[in-house]
């Protein structure tokens, strides 16, 4: 009887070990899959950010405007009389009375 008990306990222990080990491996594989997914998303974000930076580059925007034959023309600095500083609340309030 005692030996049967020992065998049963050993058997349960061994089976538990195998089960836990398998769970460990399965969870690790899932972890790796999630890591891959996160890396992929991070790379996608990175690619989008860099493409955005490329598109918004001043030289690129200027060339695009020229290429598409934009009717926008450079303002001749000589005709500029005043540049309102938009960060100055007082000046802004004066220039836009309709906001009151």
């Amino acid at each position: 009887m005692r030996w049967i008990l020992v065998v049963v306990v050993l058997g349960i222990t061994g089976s538990s070990y195998v089960y836990i080990k398998n769970q460990h491996v399965a969870k690790s594989d899932r972890k790796k899959a999630l890591e891959e997914e996160i890396n992929q998303v991070e790379r996608e974000i990175e690619t989008i950010e860099l493409r955005y930076a490329s598109m918004m580059d001043r030289v690129a925007v200027q060339r695009k405007l020229e290429f598409t034959g934009s009717s926008l023309r450079k303002i001749d600095p000589g005709v500029v009389q005043k540049i309102v500083n938009r960060d100055t609340p007082a000046a802004y309030a004066v220039d836009t009375p309709r906001d009151r």
Binding site: H24, V25, K27, S28, D29, K31, K32, Q40, R43, E44, E46, T47, L50, A53, S54, M56, D57, R58, V59, A60, I75, P77, G78, V80, I83, N85
Partner: protein, 594 residues
Amino acid sequence: MVTVLSLLSIRLVYLQVVMHDHYAAIAASQHIRKEILPAKRGEITDRHGELLARNQTVFTVVADRNHLNDYDIACRGLAASEGISAKEVRRKYDRDEIRGRYLMRLVRVLAHPLEYQGWELQKKLNASQAGEIVLVRNVEEDSYRALKQLIDQESIGGIYFRQTMRRFYPSPRTLTHVLGHLNREGTGQEGIEKSMDAVMRGADGYRFIERDRRDHEITAYRGETKAPQDGHSVRLTIDMGLQNIVEEALSDAWFSCLPEKISAVFLDPNTGEVLAMANRPHFDLATREGERRNRAIGDTYEPGSTFKIVAASGVFDRRLVNRHTVIHCHYGSFTDNGITISDHHPYGDLTVERIIAKSSNIGTYKLSKQLGGKSFYEYMTKFGFGEETGLQLTGESLGRIKSPSEWSGTSYSRMPIGYEVAVTPLQMANALAVIANGGNLMRPYVVDTVFDDKGRVIQKYRPQVRRRVISEQAANEVRKCLISVVSPEGTGENGAVEGYTVAGKTGTARKYCAELGGYANGRYVVSFMGFLPAENPQLLGIIVVDDPRTGSLLRYGGTVAAPVFSKIATEAAAYLNLEPYRGGANLAKTYEGN
């Protein structure tokens, strides 16, 4: 029987217990690897946070020749294409046929996505019978995913992706010399990439992993891990809006003047912040093709008349003269101790202010004689000539000024007018900043702040006064003289900016050619440096044009370099919202009254 079993048991104990460590180490060497976790290199941005350089994850597509020759891989690949089982493939074809057909299929499937002609890819794969063959570099994320999907769908084996980093520059032909670039190992070469390499590269991490026989990681057995420490990011003092104005103007001048080179430096004279720096010729940051030398800090030239500010500053600082002191200029030719100095126009009596405005060589020589050789040399060193400015870029030249013990018989007549001295454009601009800011030599700087990967400030660079060079009053006097230069009576009228008072100086020096062993006829290095608004300087710049070929246009600083400065300064004044001058038309006369 007992003996045999006993011997086997002894052998078992010997292998498993006595030699345990030895065989465990052999097994580990085959399965356990140390995987490097690369650190992300820091970003570079301009003063407003505009991205200038950043790392991008890309992939290299490689073919493993050993795996392409693998019989099982070839069977599986061919089976997938023919819609039969691998067993049937082995029955249908012999070994060589299987490998050959598989390779042909691989070429057919991958040639177009990898942007190869079929025969090109075939040739590349056959070039080696073992090892890795690099097929394509710098494959971006979306292309990588599409390729991976295709390879999985078509059961292509032997083709792998190696993740790597490349440096991405949104504007690869702007600010090239300041930014610099990386070599293939990811180490900075030139520019900020080199000078701040230790700060930006970070520290790689590592992870011990175990791989199965298919070289796949067994995640459950991951060992010791050390996370990578990402590099710090750098914010520059550069203003990309101004930088683009400068780059455009230089490109225009490059094509209109056809010079050997042009350099431009713009800085805040009060703080020493470098706002823009550009050269032509330059290079492409993406391809690294072109001229990579930063001539604005690395090349020296004889500055000509722009150097006259040294003598002028000295005599005002020592109170030997004032602006209205009259000096006789001998109608264009003056001989002193057997040395003849000449002017481009015959002037009689000129005030000190007019000497500077008209750029009289004779007048300047006589001023420096009042100063004395030793004092003149002292002022040259105080202005920072002959030493590094301290800018955070590598490759800076010290320039050269001769000590009095090295002077020849002509040196003292030449140096005050900008010959027999070698300066860089940055040194010259920094010297002019002394006049603009009231007499202090500032340390120019181009790196403003260093951030860690969480955005916390690690180091903030602040304006540094290296030394006082001249008194504020002396600087004021020189400034008033320089305002006269940029007036209808001065040589720098073309450097004027409508609506602003500009103080500046022209320079036209004969070009010394080493191959000729002397000065070349008809070839000049011309320059213009100036700052505005003169009454409250906010922006200072220098344009140096080496050997312009302008056809009929006279090759003077006032005709070639000054218009470039004026064009840049006009656009920059609006961009930077500089306060225009509100006074009367005759700006020099009005300022005299102060």
